[in-house]
């Protein structure tokens, strides 16, 4: 027996409002799953996530690794016969997961996003070297990607100084809102 979520209607409504996706449109043809390039990192396949939403199983969805592994490459929603915008659903689920403060299945990916936004807040543009260093510092892991880092520095793929926006106030305003 499958136990449906308690606040099923509320949960579906919330995600539908944010992402604009009508979940009763999904036929479970699994086209999204078959086209997804990153299934190996996911605990639930993309069509399963949609099914879980239909059944209102909030906790399972919000704590799944799928919503963080999805990079939003739009492959699934291009092949989907019902043109369901799955990346938009994943975005809404990530926002809700952060809001509800549930257990994050992929803290590394969340940390990476935070470091990217950190540099954008500081400079108005991303600064790859700082993102990498701060990300590694947080993870307390400097050795795993040492070779790649050195390769990139050697080929000058990582600029040492950031490129900055002059109008700092404007960027500050964006982040304060």
């Amino acid at each position: 027996m499958i136990k449906l979520g308690n606040n099923r209607g509320k949960f579906i409504y919330k995600i539908r409002k944010q992402s604009g996706v009508n979940f009763s449109e999904c036929l479970h043809c699994t086209t999204c799953t078959n086209s997804c390039p990153f299934l190996e990192g996911m605990d639930y396949y993309p069509n399963v996530v949609l099914r879980l939403i239909q059944m209102g199983m909030e906790k399972e969805v919000l704590e799944s690794s799928t919503i963080w592994i999805c990079v939003g490459c739009n492959t699934c929603c291009n092949y989907c016969p019902m043109a369901i915008d799955i990346p938009a659903v994943m975005d809404s689920l990530r926002h809700l997961a952060l809001k509800r403060k549930v257990r994050i299945a992929e803290p590394d990916i969340l940390n990476f996003h935070r470091e990217v936004l950190n540099t954008v807040e500081k400079y108005g543009r991303t600064h790859k070297l700082e993102i990498m260093l701060r990300y590694k510092l947080k993870k307390k892991d400097f050795l795993s990607d040492m070779g790649v880092g050195i390769k990139m520095l050697k080929k000058r793929k990582l600029d040492l100084t950031p490129s900055k926006v002059k109008d700092e106030d404007a960027i500050e305003r964006i982040f304060k809102k």
Binding site: F38, I69, G72, D108, F112, T126, K128, S163, V165, F175
Partner: protein, 293 residues
Amino acid sequence: MKEFLKNKKKPVQEWKRYSFFPGCTLKTSGHENTSSLLKFCKKVKIKLFELEDWNCCGSSSAHSINHEVGENLPLRNISLIPAGMPLMIACPSCFIRMKQAYLNLKKDEKLRQKYEEDWKTVFNPNLEIIHFFEIFSRIKLSDYIKKPRGKLNNIKVAPYYGCMLFMPPDLRHGPSFHGLMEKTLSGLGADMISFGYRSKCCGTYLSVAKPKIAENAVNEIVSKAMEAGAECLVTACSMCHLNIEIRCTIKDPIPILHFSELLSMALGAKSHKKWFPRHIVDPVPLLKKRNLL
């Protein structure tokens, strides 16, 4: 009659003016991409003006974890676009973010009001935001080059689009880029190799947070291109280029070139000495073998 023939032979092309949004990757790590792109645009008489004081489009991170920031970062850029000049974006991801933000503005009146208030500007409903690929439907390469065929000496190229062929629903009504690299490069004399992985995502930021997944994806792309007989892979996106180069672990991989590099070499640009030392897999031996250097 003579006069007419003479005129037909030499079509005079006027300089076109475009505003240009480089984006963080082209500005800071893909210098060779930017420089070859600028060279190419100069050769086809397009004058690019970098968007004054542009900021990051938000990349994948902003819309993933902070909806408001993800919405507002592109809006500031849109408010900076000078009127009367189309904005050209060379990064597929920046293009999607910016164009989507602009379409949202067009659709949503509330957002439009907020935008006008926030950025003290008036919404311009006639702005043109285009990807670099759309240039090719506006110009004819053969007008700028004598004998276009044979310029690339039958170098065997596998085109790699990554996720740029897939657009979110709102953007699907725009032009499609399917087959554009094939058409353009084969017109310049390259042999195009078709392979099934041309639109498999490179992994973007998983390259940092989940290196193993990105490594598998990248290795699959490169090895399938090699199996199909390609001598090099051509990417349309600076981020894909970076990911493929740093995460590829197979033995003796083929070099990865930027689309803009091959284009500007075909049009006779000479500054490639600055570009190739920045590649992890050195393309110089291959290009020498094909008499392209």
